[in-house]
């Protein structure tokens, strides 16, 4: 038995994205944001996308490129506080935004990746975040139905990968990446290093390669990755 080779070019990986797709994008702030994949998606031009991402990055960075290019119709997120441009798009009605509590967004994505239909949670009960949500009573108390989220495509940034798609992340660049890497029909990972098969300790894999469809190796990182030229 041997494991298949999922390496491909960034353009080939991105080419399957279609208009109207739902796209998950890893990252919390800059760390873990798949900046090269985002630029390739801007170049590719697919429109009317629904993005799922923790935050909207900052103006001129990360998914802001997709927001400013007008490719995004809807954003499922937790917080836009660092991107005044995203807030302006939302306030002008050009971007539909759905806010989730951050840990609930994480759990909804995880549920999608785990093949669970929904979770029941009391987070937000009694606040406006509960508005419009289905309620289930358990032992006499109300819980909100938080449906699983899945995407057509997930864009993932990893520190290292192997050719089968096993992934590992570093530091706080992990964040939503391992959750999203389980929750999409097509998972595309950019990695700072792609190692030969067998160079990964099986205990240190954060995302098993079975979840990953395409692996692309990054060359030199741009300054948008917060690389400081010293």
């Amino acid at each position: 038995m041997k494991l298949s080779d999922k390496r491909c070019s960034i353009q080939d990986a991105i080419s399957a994205i279609k208009d109207n797709d739902t796209v998950m994008v890893g990252g919390f702030g800059v760390p873990g944001t798949p900046i090269a994949l985002i630029h390739a998606l801007v170049a590719h031009g697919a429109r009317n996308l629904t993005l799922i991402k923790n935050d909207a990055n900052e103006p001129g960075m990360g998914i802001d490129h997709l927001l400013q290019s007008g490719q995004v119709a809807r954003l499922i997120t937790t917080h836009l506080g660092l991107n005044s441009g995203a807030i302006a798009l939302m306030n002008s009605g050009r971007l539909e935004v759905e806010f989730n509590a951050q840990g609930i967004l994480a759990e909804r994505i995880r549920a999608g990746g785990a093949g669970i239909k929904a979770i029941l949670s009391d987070i937000g009960v009694g606040t406006e975040l509960a508005d419009g949500k289905q309620v289930v009573e358990l032992q006499g108390k109300p819980y909100l139905v938080e449906p699983a989220l899945r995407a057509d495509v997930a864009l993932i940034h990893a520190d290292r990968a192997d050719s089968f798609g096993n992934l590992a992340y570093v530091a706080t660049a992990r964040n939503f990446n391992p959750l999203m890497a389980m929750a999409a029909d097509r998972v595309i990972a950019e990695a700072e290093r792609v190692l030969p098969l067998g160079q990964f300790d099986a205990d240190e894999v954060h995302t098993p390669g079975v979840f990953v469809d395409h692996v692309t190796e990054l060359g030199e990182l741009s300054e948008e990755y917060a690389v400081v030229r010293r």
Binding site: M1, K2, L3, S4, G112, G113, A114, G115, I116, D162, S163, F164, N166, M182, A183, D185, P196, L197, G198, F200, A202, D203, V205, P208, G209, V210, F211
Partner: protein
């Protein structure tokens, strides 16, 4: 039949092989065949089974056999292991059976009053693998048919089985019920029909042998 069943596995598939006959399928794959074997207790990329004296005490498959890694193996917890199964990343599972119905219902975990050790991971494999095939003897030890119009035993999952490999035949489960597709050497169509407790559609013309 095991050799024939091995041809179900296409290059690049992620596959879970159930305890018993299915486990033996791997012996019929070429050494460098591109396949990723999954086991419920938390591993992808299972390598060859090892004798106890060469084993890693921490490395077993879900059946308790000592196994090994291959380049690219990964370990993970039990929740992640079934996330693979339920979220559609398991292309194929091969399972044993007590009974299979003509609509693809599977019963393989409980014989009331006799055998009820619990369901383990079987329900999720049967219900959520993209393709479920069964490897089983065509009849039980008492000679009773295992392929029936309806299952009499508690179900593992409904309408899940696509194909059945037995010592007598390869049979597909279709919207119209059981269809005989291939037949074992030395077995007649009449033998298979007689050993099957449900209508069996037999195509015209000669059937492939295995």
């Amino acid at each position: 039949m095991v050799a024939r069943a091995a041809r179900e596995i296409a290059p690049g598939m992620v596959v879970n092989l159930g305890i018993g006959l299915p486990t033996k399928v791997v012996n019929h794959l070429p050494a460098d065949f591109p396949v990723c074997l999954h086991t419920e207790n938390g591993m992808t990329g299972i390598g060859p089974t090892l004798p106890p004296e060469r084993a890693d005490r921490n490395l077993i498959d879900a059946g308790g056999a000592y196994v090994s890694t291959i380049p690219g193996s990964a370990f993970f917890d039990s929740a992640t292991s079934f996330a693979i199964v339920r979220s559609g990343r398991l292309d194929l599972t091969m399972l044993g059976a007590f009974e299979v119905s003509a609509s693809g219902d599977l019963a393989n975990w409980k014989i009331p009053g006799k055998f009820s050790p619990g369901v383990g991971g079987g329900i999720e494999l049967a219900q959520k693998a993209r393709r479920v095939v069964v490897l089983t003897t065509h009849t039980d030890r008492a000679g009773n048919a295992k392929l029936k119009q309806n299952c009499s035993l508690p179900l593992t999952a409904r309408a899940c089985v696509s194909r059945i490999f037995t010592d007598m035949a390869m049979i597909d489960v279709t919207a119209g019920g059981f269809v005989l597709v291939e037949i074992a050497d030395g077995v007649s169509v009449a033998d298979v029909v007689a050993a099957t407790d449900a209508p069996l559609h037999v195509p015209d013309g000669p059937l492939p042998r295995f």
